[in-house]
């Protein structure tokens, strides 16, 4: 029965130009979106490769420099002596902490244009890693990218509404509804049959194009976690689409004419996709305002001034705590300098940590609130699911920040003792410098988070469909 209705709907609609226009629109936007995502991923990969090449080049130069200096061919000043742990740890030997794009990154640019994906790690205090973002025209950040996630979140609903705003009202206006309902077919099954065809059309087109585009743009489905992520992605998109179909059924069930339905549905689209997210954004910012970065800068500067003013005392205290690090000869100014700088860095980090923590706390609170009220709009749920699956959302970034912070500590712990003991680095010790290891987020975690969002979406969709079907029972077939 459903199949019959769907088949008839297809024969009926296929003669209409709208369908082909929509197919063309979907094809161009999806392919353009995937292409844009893929070229961004490509750019990130090349940049990361560039960082590794830069690192390799510098390390080769350091080794060469060590050999030259040891052989007496050169005598570099201390601040750029490749044998000095100080020079290597701060500048010459610094390594990059990088976050490679996740397997599905090409499908959603997400927040990855705004948040950095590589840091240069030095012995300097942790705060110096902050704010080193990728260059980008701010107008582009403001507009956001045209990626597949955008097509899905914004355009998919519109396409769905365009093909289903007159699902029942159109038949009623054409007069075929009465004839159809004089046969033993119920209105809900008629509506479902029509939805089935349209959903099959939109979703198949969307799924085939997305996967084809993704594969063409070089997504590797054999990468760990890629296949289940892609499956869940499809699930989220399907649930989101079904929500909009359900909404179309619900509005049609009210029994108004097609023009009113079109108005009502575009109004709902505006509410769910634009208004609720921006009002929620405002609400969250008002409830948990992030403290001013300007004030943070000043606080950090005051802390740094204070630390500088107290450097002698700090150094004395530091040496009391770490007598083993006391310079062998008190006349060794390099060692004195190194100990003082380590002591100051340590103290500075200790003092600004509360300021940074306050930011993290407020931002996490905002995030919590956003998570809590995400169900208000399926667009928000979908955004969260898609960004998570593509690994371009805030969760993977936080994961990266934690890894980078650990690596930074590891780097300090490795270099600082050498600095203070004024060890002369050998070529072998350059190879011993801690290496960055990117560890991918646990796939189960990602799937768990995105799965929750998808489940919530599916629940909302089911709810809307159920209400729609119930409302259809009271549909005025005549009058």
């Amino acid at each position: 029965m459903l199949f019959l209705i769907a088949k008839n709907d297809w024969r009926n609609i296929r003669a209409d130009r709208t369908l082909w226009a929509i197919a063309l629109l979907l094809t161009t936007t999806i392919l353009y979106g995937v292409h844009n995502g893929a070229s961004w991923v490509d750019f990130q990969k090349r940049t990361i490769q560039g960082a590794l090449a830069d690192e390799a080049e510098r390390h080769a130069a350091i080794k060469q420099g060590i050999e030259d200096a040891n052989a007496g061919r050169t005598s570099p000043p201390s601040w750029k002596d490749p044998r000095s742990p100080y020079a290597v740890g701060y500048r010459l030997g610094s390594r990059f902490a990088t976050m490679p794009p996740a397997p599905l990154a090409a499908l959603a640019v997400g927040q990855s244009d705004l948040l950095p994906y590589y840091f240069r790690v030095t012995v300097n205090s942790r705060d110096t890693m902050l704010g080193n973002d990728e260059l980008e025209n701010p107008v582009h950040l403001l507009s956001g990218r045209f990626d597949l996630a955008f097509v899905i979140i914004y355009l998919f609903p519109l396409v769905i509404l365009a093909v289903s705003y007159n699902l029942i009202s159109g038949d009623k206006e054409d007069g075929t509804l009465a004839l159809t309902l004089s046969t033993p077919v119920s209105l809900p099954s008629l509506a479902m049959g029509k939805i089935a065809f349209r959903a099959a059309f939109v979703l198949t087109l969307g799924a085939v194009l997305s996967v084809a585009g993704a594969l063409l743009s070089g997504i590797d489905l054999s990468a760990p976690g890629a296949a289940p992520r892609l499956l869940l992605w499809m699930g989220a998109v399907a649930a989101y689409s079904i929500f909009w179909f359900g909404l179309a059924v619900l509005i049609n069930a009210m029994g108004r004419n097609s023009a009113t339905n079109a108005l009502a549905l575009s109004g709902l689209w505006l509410v769910f996709v634009l208004l609720i997210p921006s009002l929620l954004n405002v609400g969250i910012k008002t409830a948990h305002p992030v403290p001013s970065r300007v004030e943070m800068i000043q606080a950090m500067r005051h802390a740094s001034d204070a630390v500088t003013a107290e450097r002698s005392r700090l150094m004395a205290e530091f040496l009391e705590d770490h007598p083993e690090l006391a310079p062998a000869a008190s006349a060794d100014t390099n060692a004195q300098f190194a100990v003082r700088s380590v002591a100051m860095t340590e103290e500075l980090e200790r003092r600004i940590q509360p300021v940074l923590d306050e930011f993290d706390k407020r931002i996490s609170r905002q995030q919590q609130l956003a998570d809590q009220y995400r169900f208000l709009s399926p667009a928000i749920l979908t955004q969260a699911a898609l960004y998570d699956l593509a690994g371009t959302g805030v969760h993977r970034y936080k994961h990266f920040l934690n890894l980078a912070a650990n690596y930074h500590q590891q780097w300090q712990a490795h270099i600082q003792p050498k600095m203070m003991q004024t060890v002369k680095l050998s070529t072998a010790s350059i190879d011993e410098l801690p290496r960055w290891h990117w560890q991918e987020e646990d796939t189960a975690d990602v799937l768990g988070r995105a799965g929750t969002h998808t489940a919530a979406l599916a629940l909302t969709a089911a709810f809307v469909i159920a209400i729609g079907v119930l409302a259809l029972r009271r549909f005025p077939v005549v009058g």
Partner: protein, 234 residues
């Protein structure tokens, strides 16, 4: 076959149909006459369960349409004033869709064409899109749907209004054939002449009440018109 028991429909205090009791047996053609708003279309809509009754029941083949809407429709066919079909489909495609939807056996193309030609549609029109059909042609497709479905009861809502006399005549002939095959037909119409010609019984409705009810074989043409006009006078 068609049975109305104390059937009543009120909208916000206005009674559109008041306590209608009516039985149309197989092979009968019952014509409902009356002015606009007398309750004819309401009666048909109630039999189709397009609107719920305020009280009373409408039965098709003994089945209450309000409690078993889908079963009751197995036996029903409906031809509205304007048979509206899917404009982008051909006559045959429309016929095939509606018969399959009704749960009939799947007819062959030749059989479908037979139904259409039997309903008076020219064979070459059957493969054209319905968008190009005249009203008469669409009514014929409506009849073809009813015959193909082998409906036991037909509900017709002013099916001949706006048809030219020849098309109207052909339509009457088709109806006679259907009732001859044992269908019960309930038809709302303004056309006294057609009612006398095709109907076996007529009922005159006014303000939701069935005010007169007679057999056509006992009437002359002039009698029917006179009785009708008498009732229309207040």
């Amino acid at each position: 076959m068609l049975e109305a028991l104390s059937l009543t429909k009120a909208y916000n205090g206005h009674t559109a149909l008041n306590n209608l009791n009516l039985t149309v047996a197989a092979g009968e053609v019952f014509c409902l006459l009356g002015a606009n708003g007398a309750g004819k279309t309401t009666t048909i809509n109630l039999f189709l369960n397009f609107i719920p009754p305020t009280s009373g029941t409408a039965k098709v083949n003994g089945i209450d349409v309000a409690s078993h809407p889908l079963e009751s429709k197995r036996y029903l066919a409906y031809i509205p004033e304007q048979v509206m079909l899917y404009r982008n489909l051909t006559g045959i495609e429309n016929l095939s869709y509606f018969t399959e939807l009704a749960g009939c056996e799947k007819y062959s193309q030749a059989k479908l064409l037979d139904f259409l030609t039997a309903a008076g549609l020219q064979a070459e029109a059957a493969d054209k899109r319905v968008g190009s059909y005249s009203k008469g042609m669409r009514q014929k497709v409506g009849i073809a749907i009813a015959t193909a479905r082998n409906a036991k009861a037909l509900l017709l809502d002013e099916p001949t209004s706006g048809l030219d006399p020849k098309a109207s005549n052909e339509f009457s002939e088709l109806l006679k054939r259907l009732s001859g095959n044992g269908a019960a037909i309930l038809m709302a119409t303004h056309d006294l002449f057609r009612a006398k010609e095709t109907g076996t019984r007529v009922g005159i409705m006014k303000h939701g009440n069935m005010v007169a009810h007679m057999k056509t074989e006992e009437l002359g043409h002039a009698d029917l018109e006179r009785i009708y006009l008498e009732h229309m006078h207040d």
